[in-house]
């Protein structure tokens, strides 16, 4: 029974804390991010319980403010962003044929800074006045010491600084890995699509994260009595600086999951990604534009030039459209097998589309004047981040779990999880578009009964618990699959890229032998020319 290496390797505490193997680091980061996901999810469920009916039932108003602040902050700073890089830390060295990540000790320090920052932020719950409660972007002057006094809010600021610095360090190491550690033959235009998405993600991390650290340091000083942000210009400057980080980070929280979904689509369709060069070019265009769209969060402030930011934001349609062409082109001409990872990837593309199309809507200032700060915006970004990115993440989990742990996740439970999550997600977030159009502002703990919003709100609350049950099924699936005795083997899905050319889990330095790299699907090339054995897909093995 010792064929499953995952269980053979007993982790030592020093090995975990001082990890320099990118696989251990990546796994640590995934586990930490998932723990924060559960916390942020519990905050969301509590919010949904309060919102199910008009009036206040469960909690004080400040508690609701703390919950939505910590829900958003936990999900953005401590879950999705670190998760996006954690996938890269685990997979990129394997995909580009590297033995390890660049500067692994720095990356490990980054990981612990992130965990420390997360705990710092959450420890605000233990202070007498509660944690941060000024929203995940904590606009000034609300986030100043007059409007939001208390040590919990200071801890929030410090937590953001630490976590962002940590994730930024990890991003820098990953960027170094991609630029400097590619195997012979692995040119930039032979990197797998997922690695491309991690590359552009790291570029945005390097460009945007220092600005957030700066603005948080300034906010901290301001809270300690140094007057930094004063008057109208101070308030506008805070928003400018924050969103200069805040918009690129939206794509940091998107690209790697798009990359994961793209790999699952390609392998599920049995053919390489369609329009690879165009996709890579669009990712770069996307990244460039992402640094110039930030003030579309500020259309209603009267402090920015709306037309410019509307132009750059709407222009995102072009690179985004190209990625969708790549997805469709990969399906057309394929030999599609409907595995859980493939289905999650499909759900990613179809549901994200709702988020993307509503994004074009809010990129138009006259439409945004109504939508801004309403539930339309809440619906929009949950369709991108949850209905999109998180489904892309699960596509990646079902796809790469056997590589990391040596065993496959159960397909039946996986499809049950998918069904629950698709139903729950749309039940939760679709009604939000209608509530926002009706005039429901975001971040309200209650609403008048006379508005008639109770019905849609209670539906959303039910939806949120359906999502939670889907997540529970996932946890059960992981725990029960890890007990499985059936080894997945090196290449369970007949993969296309280098990570499938080594054992599962891979050895300490990843490869006993590196196959030649001739394209962005190196293993598929070798399989097609008969130089590498085709994996019998599990469906065939069963038949």
């Amino acid at each position: 029974m010792s064929t499953i290496a995952a269980r053979r390797r007993a982790p030592s505490w020093t090995g975990v804390i001082g990890a320099t193997d990118h696989k251990v680091l990546g796994r640590n980061m995934l586990i930490a991010a998932f723990a924060f996901f559960i916390a942020g999810g519990v905050f969301a469920l509590l919010m949904r319980l309060e919102l199910a009916q008009p009036g206040m039932q469960l909690m004080a108003r400040d508690s609701y403010d703390e919950l939505f602040t910590m829900h958003g902050s936990t999900m953005v700073y401590l879950f999705v962003t670190p998760l996006a890089l954690a996938l890269g830390v685990y997979l990129v060295p394997l995909q580009i044929g590297a033995a390890d990540i660049s500067a692994p000790r720095v990356a490990n320090i980054g990981f612990w800074l992130y965990v420390g920052g997360g705990l710092t932020m959450e420890s605000g719950w233990l202070t007498d006045i509660g944690p941060g409660r000024a929203g995940w972007f904590s606009a000034y002057p609300l986030s100043g010491s007059d409007a939001t006094p208390g040590f919990g809010m200071d801890l929030w600021v410090l937590g953001v600084i630490l976590a962002t610095a940590g994730v930024g360090l990890v991003g820098a190491c990953l960027l170094g890995t991609i630029m400097r550690r590619r195997a012979p033959g692995m040119t930039m235009l032979r990197m797998p699509v997922f690695t491309w998405t991690e590359l552009v993600t790291c570029l945005m991390v390097i460009g945007a994260f220092p600005v957030l650290i700066l603005v948080m340091v300034l906010l901290y000083l301001d809270r300690q009595g140094v007057h930094v942000f004063q008057g109208f210009n101070g308030a506008i400057d805070y928003q400018q600086l924050f969103w200069f980080y805040g918009h690129p980070v939206v794509y940091v929280m998107f690209f790697p999951f798009f990359g994961a979904a793209a790999e699952a689509i390609a392998v599920g369709a049995g053919r390489r990604w369609f329009g690879y060069e165009a996709s890579a070019l669009s990712l770069l265009a996307f990244t460039a534009l992402s640094m110039s769209v930030w003030a579309h969060h500020m259309f209603t402030t009267g402090g920015v030039h709306n037309a410019y930011f509307s132009l750059t934001s709407t222009a995102l349609v072009v690179p985004a459209g190209i990625e969708y062409l790549g997805m469709l082109g990969t399906l057309v001409g394929g030999a599609i097998v409907f595995r859980t990872s493939f289905l999650f990837a499909l759900a990613f593309f179809i549901q994200f589309l709702i988020g993307g199309l509503s994004g074009i809507f809010v990129a138009s200032p006259p439409l945004d004047y109504h939508a801004q700060d309403s539930y339309i915006v809440v619906a929009h970004f949950h369709y991108t981040l949850f209905a999109g990115s998180i489904f892309g993440f699960f596509a990646g989990v079902y796809h790469w779990f056997p590589k990391a742990f040596g065993v496959r996740l159960r397909e039946g439970l996986g499809k049950l999880q998918l069904a629950l999550m698709v139903v729950g997600t749309n039940l939760t977030f679709l009604p939000m578009f209608f509530l926002g159009q009706e005039g429901m502002p975001r971040r309200v703990a209650t609403y008048p009964a006379s508005t008639g919003w109770g019905t849609l709100n209670v539906l959303e609350t039910v939806g949120a618990f359906v999502i939670a049950s889907g997540v529970l099924v996932f946890v059960v699936n992981v725990l029960s699959s890890l007990r499985s005795h059936v080894a997945a083997g090196p290449d369970p899905w007949d993969g296309h890229t280098l990570e499938w050319a080594t054992s599962s889990p891979p050895p300490r330095h990843n490869f006993e032998l590196l196959p030649p790299v001739r394209s962005y699907a190196p293993l598929l090339d070798l399989k097609q020319s008969g130089e590498w054995p085709r994996a019998r897909r599990p469906e065939e093995a069963l038949a």
């Binding site: 403010d65 009267g302 082109g329 399906l331």
Partner: protein, 229 residues
Amino acid sequence: MVFTGRHHGLTLPAGLGDTGHQYAHLFDIYVPIALGVWVAITLAVGVALFRYRRRPGRAPSGRHTATRLEASYAVVLACTVAALLYLTFTTEDEVDALPRKPGLVVHVTGAMWNWRFDYPAYGISIVAGTVRPGTLYVPTRTEVLLELRSIDVVHSLWVPATRIKKDVFPGAEEELGLKFPRAGTFRGVCAEFCGTHHADMTFSVRALPPARFRQWAERNRGLRQGESA
């Protein structure tokens, strides 16, 4: 019909005044396009899934690029972007235009968690929010100019029926022009999160025919904090 910019929803009236119509005009172009694109892509994916499901004896295609298709598709996307932006820019110019000769000027002050509406022409001052429910009275068919400022944090004045909101900052004055084509009572809220009682920073808007508005204003000349009996 829910999916039009003008819809009558649960309790929200159809878009009011110029801003309401401008919103409806853009909404009725953007939303049908978005819905059409979503349906088209979903259908295309559905057809591809069925047509290219794995079947014995059929290998996947080796074709993985089509430069001309990709380039012409990008051109179509770019033209769509240009068309949408043209519509947005021309509409925004109209929406952002402030009334040159407003029939009524109201100074609006936002504070945690109340609005104060001052009518300089009549010496009237009305407070709405957590201290008391209050109403902003305006004449119908008249350009109303709101001059907005805050004394503490950022607020945002939103009357959903007019489909427009404006952020209210400390240390600067923002302006918002509104027009109410018909008499009625409408809901107003603070849209920007501003602390504990953000949800209660609400007010009513009461649009009266101009003659009745003048009557109301004359009767309440000099009124502080209160409403007419």
